[in-house]
Symmetry: C2
Subunit: 236 residues, 2 copies
């Protein structure tokens, strides 16, 4: 995988349909990138891949480093080398979009990968609890997810910006996972603010997209349909 | 590019928005596959890539071998090695779908690439005439396309079957281009029948999808929206 390209295993629509009983190993994912996000088998928690280490952010609040043989039913990864870095203030999650727009002009139909390092005045994260039955859809898991607010916390966000027409293949719009510097908390970012202080933003514009589809009977039996509202409610 | 993976340059939605003034060279496309289909700058005719040669099927009825520096604003290509070959009868274009289903079971959410060699009792092909103004949308070009019927003609179809949720990124469903054995006629296949005789079908199920997005200002300025009805009318 070339630097600053995207590798994705499976489809967000497959997760929405609950397809998460198996996947690629963490060691396989590490061949595809040093930076990324995803989930684990049975959607047990959130995955963040940061500087070549894969962490599992569990719904109970624990963080563990993934085992080489853990299976990953969905992930997106990049060998990330920022093309630009900037000190920025981010007042909301949506301000990330405006900020990326400022620095990466004429890239509306391209992908952007980024990381944000620094102290967050507040950050709201969710972690999905694992499936309670086979093929339980992600939209249902969204209703029982654990949500936590952290204040004045130092850490890193790994994020992707994906154009709207890719909704369902990827998560369209902004998709970010966070982990604290102490590697003790984190999750899928629902809201954030740097409270007027600056954090470091590194970004890369991406034109090469690689998707590896699962070949399992479970994946092929799934009815894949893009549910824009459902996706926004659970991945927004 | 590994054998039996898919490379696509640009997006079908970009063509629908008329983005076709520039692209990759034919020599670049040949690095990505020996088998494929697409179009040329300003959507001037249809492209078929067969056994490592790129042909331009022009609306006037001529066929030419592409120059190494011709630019291709949209194409899909594969280093194709059939995993299965079968002697089959094909009564309609939609019968291709049923036939693929027979041989490639449990692949509903995967891609299939195929070729069909033999004598067609009848085959209806269209060739798009090039744009008359910048960014003229493909849906409009569909209205002035040249359509021709051929009978008892020997030749080859290059085709792809793409799952429904990819509509707009790719052409969902069946997408086939035809060229005669004499390399004198061809086009985008609208209808076909082998009239009860057998033709040779070779197919490969594909799980690895690579998409390279254009970085031009023209591409990034385009409003990309999936028009399912419009796409079916022009690429169906």
């Amino acid at each position: 995988m070339a630097t600053n390209s995207i590798y994705q295993y499976s489809l967000v629509n497959a997760l929405m349909s609950g397809v998460s009983s198996q996947g690629i190993t963490t060691s396989r994912l590490l061949e595809k990138g040093n930076h990324g996000l995803g989930t684990f088998v049975r959607m047990n928690g959130e995955l963040i891949l940061l500087d070549g280490t894969i962490y599992q952010l569990q719904a109970g609040g624990q963080v563990r480093i993934a085992d080489p043989n853990d299976e990953i039913p969905y992930a997106i990864a990049t060998h990330f080398e920022p093309q630009q870095t900037h000190a920025v203030k981010l007042e909301t999650k949506t301000s990330v979009d405006d900020t990326l727009e400022t620095f990466a002009k004429q890239t509306n139909n391209l992908f952007v990968s980024y990381r944000v390092d620094g102290v967050f005045r507040s950050i709201k994260c969710r972690t999905v609890k694992g499936q309670e039955y086979d093929n339980q859809p992600l939209s249902e898991l969204g209703k029982t997810q654990a949500v936590a607010d952290y204040e004045n916390i130092k850490g890193t966000i790994v994020g992707y910006r994906v154009p709207e027409i890719w909704q369902g293949i990827f998560v369209a719009g902004e998709h970010m996972h966070f982990i604290s510097e102490k590697r003790d908390v984190g999750g899928h970012v629902l809201e954030l603010s740097t409270g007027g202080s600056e954090v470091q933003l590194g970004l890369a514009v991406i034109k090469d997209i690689h998707i590896e589809l699962p070949t399992s009977a479970n994946f092929n039996a799934a009815i894949l349909k893009t549910d824009d509202q459902g996706l926004k409610s659970v991945e927004g």
